[in-house]
Symmetry: C2
Subunit: 414 residues, 2 copies
C-alpha cells in the first residue's frame, strides 16, 4: 500500500535536491567551521553560502541571520534573549516591560511569555476572530507606552490562518516614528530619555513555504523559521535579527553567530536549510501554491459533499493553501486519525507538536470553537508532492470511516 502523507505542517520530507547538497558535508567537507585550516574553511564556505541564501530570501544582510537548532529555539531566543538584553541594561532596572502576543501562538512563544510573566513582565495575549485572525484594531489598541516587544505568528500551524503581519509592522513603525519625532521636538532639557522602540517579531515557521517573507516588506525586527517545515532537515532553524535589535545569547560558550548563539555550527543542517530556502523563489512558490490550493479545494469539496455534519475550521480566504482543518461532529479526532492511518493516510488532530496531549487545542478554543467540537478536529495539510490521485483516495476512504465511527457513538443523532 502506497502511503499518503497529508501532515505537512508537522514536518516535510527532505527534498532529494536538498539531501544531495548536504551529503558532501558529512564525510568530506566535515570540518569545524571555526577551524582556520582548509577543512574548516571549506565547511565555513558552505555555511556562508547558505547564510546568503537565507538572507536573500528574507531580503536582509547575512550578518542578520543567527542559525539555531530549530524554530523552538529561535522563538525562545527572540522572546527571552530580547528581554534579557533589555534587563542587562542598568538604566532599565526598575522598568515594567510589556509584551504583546496572541492567544494562538505556538507554545514555544506562549510558554516563554508565561515564564516572563511570572518574573514581572506584563503580557497581553490578543484574542482572535472566529477565523483565527487577530483583529487589527484590537491589536493597535493593545499597544501601550511600556510595550517593548510584539510577537505574532505569520501563519497558524493548526488552521493555517494568516495574520496581517505587514499591517501590524506598519502600525508599529508609525508609532515608533511618531514617538521619536515627538521626543525630538522637545527642547534638550525637557527631553529626558529617548523613547523605547517597540520591536516586532514574527514566527514565520509555517509561512515560509507559501508567503512573502521579505523582512523589509513586513517591517519586522525578528523572524523565526525552521528547516524541516520547508523540505529541509530537522534540527536546524534560523532567527533573523535586524541590526541594532537588542538580543542577549541564551546558550553560552564558544561565541559563534556573533555571540548570539554558541555551539559548533551544524554545517550540514545549515547547508540543507540554505538549499531548501533557495528553492522557494517566487516562481516556484506561485506554482506550488496554485497546485496545493487546487488539491486542498478538491479535498474540501469532496469531504463536504460526501460527509454530513462537518465544519471546516480553516477560513480559506485567510489561510495558506495547504490547510484544511475539519471538525467531524461526534467523532473523536484521534479515532479518525487512527482509522485513516490504517488506510495508509497520515493526518493530524490539532497540532502535531502537542499530540499525545488530551487537552483541546488552545488555538481552536481561542477561535470560539466548543471543546467537544475541538476534539472532533482533523487537520489535513498538503504539500508540493501530493497528487490528485491521493486526494481522490482520501475522499473515497474517509466517508465510510466517519460513518462507522459515528455508528459506534451512541450520542450521534442519526
Amino acid at each position: 500500500m502506497k502511503k499518503i502523507y497529508l501532515d505537512h505542517s508537522a514536518t516535510t520530507p527532505v527534498d532529494p535536491k536538498v539531501l544531495k547538497e548536504m551529503l558532501p558535508y558529512f564525510t568530506q567537507k566535515f570540518g569545524n567551521a571555526s577551524s582556520i585550516h582548509g577543512f574548516g574553511q571549506e565547511a565555513l564556505a558552505g555555511a556562508d553560502r547558505a547564510r546568503e541564501q537565507v538572507a536573500n530570501f528574507l531580503n536582509c544582510e547575512t550578518g542578520e541571520i543567527v542559525f539555531t537548532s530549530g524554530a523552538t529555539e529561535s522563538n525562545n531566543l527572540a522572546v527571552r534573549g530580547f528581554i534579557k538584553a533589555l534587563q542587562k541594561n542598568k538604566a532599565n532596572q526598575n522598568k515594567k516591560f510589556h509584551i504583546i502576543t496572541s492567544l494562538v501562538e505556538h507554545d514555544a512563544i506562549l510558554e516563554p511569555c508565561m515564564e516572563l510573566e511570572k518574573n514581572g513582565i506584563e503580557v497581553t495575549y490578543l484574542p482572535v476572530k472566529s477565523n483565527g485572525v487577530v483583529d487589527i484594531n484590537k491589536f493597535e489598541k493593545s499597544i501601550k507606552d511600556n510595550t517593548v516587544l510584539i510577537s505574532v505568528m505569520y501563519v497558524n500551524s493548526e488552521v493555517g490562518s494568516i495574520q496581517p503581519i505587514r499591517e501590524m509592522g506598519k502600525i508599529i513603525k508609525k508609532i515608533n516614528e511618531k514617538r521619536l519625532k515627538d521626543w525630538q521636538r522637545l527642547s534638550a532639557k525637557d527631553r529626558g530619555e529617548k523613547p523605547q522602540k517597540i520591536y516586532f517579531h514574527t514566527d514565520a515557521t509555517q509561512a515560509v513555504n507559501f508567503l512573502n517573507c521579505d523582512t523589509k516588506y513586513l517591517h519586522v525586527d525578528m523572524l523565526s523559521l525552521s528547516g524541516h517545515k520547508i523540505y529541509g532537515p530537522k534540527g536546524i532553524g534560523a532567527l533573523f535579527v535586524k541590526n541594532e535589535t537588542p538580543l542577549a545569547a541564551m546558550q553560552l560558550g564558544g561565541h559563534q553567530e556573533k555571540n548570539m548563539r554558541s555551539g559548533t555550527l551544524n554545517v550540514v543542517g545549515i547547508v540543507g536549510l540554505g538549499k531548501a530556502i533557495s528553492m522557494l523563489d517566487k516562481k516556484n512558490v506561485e506554482k506550488n501554491n496554485k497546485k496545493i490550493a487546487a488539491l486542498r479545494d478538491m479535498l474540501v469539496l469532496g469531504i463536504k459533499k460526501n460527509i454530513p455534519d462537518v465544519v471546516l475550521n480553516t477560513d480559506r480566504a485567510n489561510a495558506t493553501p495547504s490547510h484544511a482543518h475539519f471538525s467531524f461532529l461526534d467523532v473523536e479526532g484521534e479515532s479518525s486519525l487512527i482509522s485513516l492511518d490504517l488506510e495508509g493516510i497520515a493526518v493530524s488532530t490539532g497540532s502535531a507538536c502537542a499530540s499525545g496531549s488530551l487537552k483541546a487545542s488552545h488555538v481552536l478554543l481561542a477561535m470560539g470553537i466548543k471543546v467537544e467540537v475541538a476534539h472532533n478536529s482533523v487537520r489535513f495539510t498538503l504539500g508540493k508532492n501530493n497528487t490528485a490521485e491521493e486526494i481522490r483516495k482520501t475522499i473515497k476512504v474517509l466517508p465510510p470511516i466517519i460513518k462507522r465511527l459515528r455508528e459506534m457513538n451512541p450520542l450521534y443523532k442519526n
Copy 2:
C-alpha cells in the same frame, strides 16, 4: 595532494556506517516523532532505538537521556537548568548556592557559571596541576555545606588531560551518604530539613571515544556528550540526567524529552548519534586506542627527535591517546598551523572552538604555561582513520617549517 586531518578534537568526519544508518530518515522515514500516524511512529522507533544505544553505552535507563543540539546545549542545560530547578523551589528562596567547577572547563560550562555568579551564586574554579589535572585533595577541600553542583570535565579538549571523575564521584557519594546518615540519626524534632544532596555533572564530550563512560561506574548524576566528536553528525548531543535529578527546561515549547527540552526531535541526528555510539563497544575502543596511541607516540618521538626547543604539554600518562599538544618555542602557533595547512595537514592552535581569538588559552595558563609559550602551541589530535604514512609525512614536513619560521623571528636565540 591527499590531505591529512589531525584535528579530531575539533570535529570528526561522519563514519560512512553512521551516514548509511541516517539516510532513510531524510526522505522516507521523515515523520515527526510526535505524530501518532505511521510516519511519526517509524521516526519515533528510530529515535527510540538510538536512545537505547546511548543508554546502553552510558549504562543507564532510556528515560535518563535528553537529546539536545550538542554538547554546548547539554552543558548549558546541566548547569543552568539545574540551578533554575532549585530556585523554582520556594523553600530554597533565600539560600546561597555553591557550585564547584575547574579552571580548564570548556566555555560552555565556564560562561554559564560566570553568569550565575553575577546572579548571586557562589562559584569555585578549581586550579589544575601542571599536567592539567585537578588535584583531588584540593577538590575534596573545596566542597562546602552549601555546595549543590560540581561540574568537572572528563577530558580536556586542548591538552587531552583526563580528570579523576570516578574518584571525584566516589568522594561526593560518600559525603552525600554521610550527611544523610547524620541527619537520620537526629531525633525527628531536631532534624530540620533533609540535607541538600550534592549533584555531579561531567562534560564527557572529549572522553566518549576513549574512556569508560558508564555513569554508575563514574558515580555521576549528569553527563554531556556530542555527536560530531565521535564520528557522528553535528547538531546533535545528549545529556544524561539521572532519575530524580532536579532539572528545569531552558528551551520551552512542545514539551518533548519529558518536558526537559522542547523542540521537534532531530530524528536523523539522533539516529546518527545512536549508531556512532553503538560502534564504541569495548573491543573497538581498545583497538582504536591502541592504534591511535601508537601513532601519537610516533608523532611525539619524531617531533622531539627532529625539532629543538619544543615542549610537549600533553602528559601522556594522564591523557587520552589522541592528543599531542606542543609548544614550538618562539614560533606563533598560528604560523605553524597555516604553514602546515599549505602542506595539506590540518591541526589546531589551542582550542578550535575559540579559534580566531587572540587570547591565550585559559587552559594552558591554568596549567602554569607562560603566555608567550601558550601562543607557540600547536595541537595535534589523532583519530581512528589516521595512518602511519600520514604521521611520517607530518614528521618530515614539520621540522623545516619550524626552522623557517624561527629564522624569520629576530627573537629566536639560534
